[in-house]
Symmetry: C2
Subunit: 307 residues, 2 copies
């Protein structure tokens, strides 16, 4: 019946919640659905009810709540836009503090919070300053400098999926621009590239549906065309990470998200291209795969209110 | 006979030195030559002697010394490489503190320090977080976040001249890479672009020597070819600043260096291209011209030890 901390990772379909000890041990975790109807008005109450039920079950008090949200957030905890949920602009931190009576509440952007989790307990362990890139349906990023999340003046720091990496016949991005990293390095982008000039002799041509995983699997199995797609992916990501390094000069890069399940082939190739594009003072950074998977968010969230 | 602070900007040919009051007023400034012979061993003694002579003349005590150096610097004041001076790796801060007996000494990279000067008393006034780009013979950068210089893990944060902005037949950069911003947005790069396909009908073709200033002057006077060169310059710079914004999300950009003397034509065009390449959350940042000129370095240097 001891006191505890809570880490919350609010995703588009589920909310992940973790209970942590005062030294940051994960004691218990569970998920609830994210109810996005009615402009997302149930999301915070659902979270508060779920945490409160757990508190009654466990006993003890909640010492702090950290939370990651998929939208630009200011350092004060104001969400600036969250199209997934239909949320307007409001102070999530203060709202959560009022609803729970817990004084220590911090809220951050989900990609930034996941980066904090990885630098604390995952692939970025032992580093103070990392750049984390999350390769999923889209491409997200989180930048940690001196152990802290970089938020930016309007909560849009680390939006690295929209760095431009191609100007010659660039692909259209959902953001309205062209040539964004996301259109080449996300799972969606990899599949699009694979379909572009797919030759009959590639094993990928025999598949009913091409996935990013299949592209990597066939590349590892020796399919030359699949390898050329992986190579394009790695070159674009290497360019983007090199450009980022010229801005913030991190100690290491951590690559996560569903696509990163392909393993060391990614860090090997991306670091090769990174070094090709980085100036001498920035070459030979460390490249790590993320290690916490779906738990990075709850770890990073609770880290904001721990210690 | 009151006490004072000293700001020092160590350049490749001259050292600029300023005396400041405790509220940051510039009281007096002068220059001495930078003696780079014998692997730069005279540089620091020359500075110390010059400051000491001024102290005897003015009376009072030196309360702090801030210094900008043209090389990557750690936050502890260790210079990592300074090819201009032939300096190896050593702690400049501790050396200066020992030689002067002044306890409060801080040393930073010159471009970062100039950015700090501009955010304090120049074009970035009123902002906490800016990106400053210096367009001279090369392209330098300085990033200020929450009022502080971003150094990076190895002193190479803000090396934005080497962000890659062209992949299609990219120009060779002095750093060994190709397609760096510096090869398009520096004075040297503008002149190179102007010479590339120079048509006889352009006014630039009549000049004995093309300079970046001439390119801007002829563009303003209506020369179409000169305007096309300025447009290329602005597009490359807009791309780079947009990429930087996706990493650090500053409040504003400040553009300085010799090329920026061309005036508002630069901020007008660069902000236009910036908005074309920036995602929605990052559009419409402020663009300012630097205001302190050659004094940015001494202002920024002293700012590090003031307050």
């Amino acid at each position: 019946m001891s006191n505890f901390y809570v880490g919350v990772d609010v995703g588009g379909t589920t909310v992940k919640i973790g209970i942590f000890s005062h030294v940051g041990e994960l004691l218990e975790k569970w998920e609830i659905p994210t109810r996005t109807e009615n402009d997302g008005e149930f999301i915070l109450p659902d979270i508060v009810n779920s945490i409160e039920a757990k508190r009654e079950e466990r006993g003890g008090n909640i010492l702090g709540i950290g939370m990651g949200i998929p939208g630009p957030m200011t350092e004060d905890g104001v969400v600036l836009k969250c199209t997934n949920f239909g949320w307007g602009v409001f102070n999530v931190r203060n709202t959560m503090a009022d609803m729970t009576g817990v004084g220590k509440v911090k809220v951050g952007n989900d990609a930034n919070v996941a980066a904090l989790g990885e630098v604390w307990k995952g692939g970025g362990r032992g580093h103070d300053s990392i750049v984390m890139v999350t390769l999923g349906t889209g491409v997200g990023g989180g930048i940690i400098q001196n152990g802290k999340v970089m938020t930016g003046s309007q909560g849009a720091a680390g939006e690295i999926g929209h760095i431009k990496v191609e100007f010659n016949n660039p692909a259209q991005c959902g953001c309205g621009c062209k040539g964004c990293l996301e259109t080449y390095a996300s799972a969606t982008g990899i599949v699009r590239m694979a379909k572009e000039n797919l030759p009959d002799k590639s094993k990928l041509a025999d598949l009913e549906e091409i996935t990013a995983k299949e592209v990597f699997d066939q590349a590892k199995a020796g399919d030359q065309y699949a390898m050329s797609v992986v190579d394009r992916f790695a070159r674009y990501l290497g360019i983007a990470l090199s450009n980022i390094a010229h801005v913030v000069d991190p100690e290491a890069f951590v690559i996560g998200g569903g696509v990163s399940a392909a393993g060391p082939i990614i860090t090997d190739l991306v670091s090769k291209y990174y070094n090709e594009y980085a100036m001498y003072a920035l070459k030979d950074k460390e490249f790590h795969l993320a290690e916490l998977g779906n738990d990075a968010g709850i770890y990073g969230a609770v880290r904001m209110v721990l210690f």
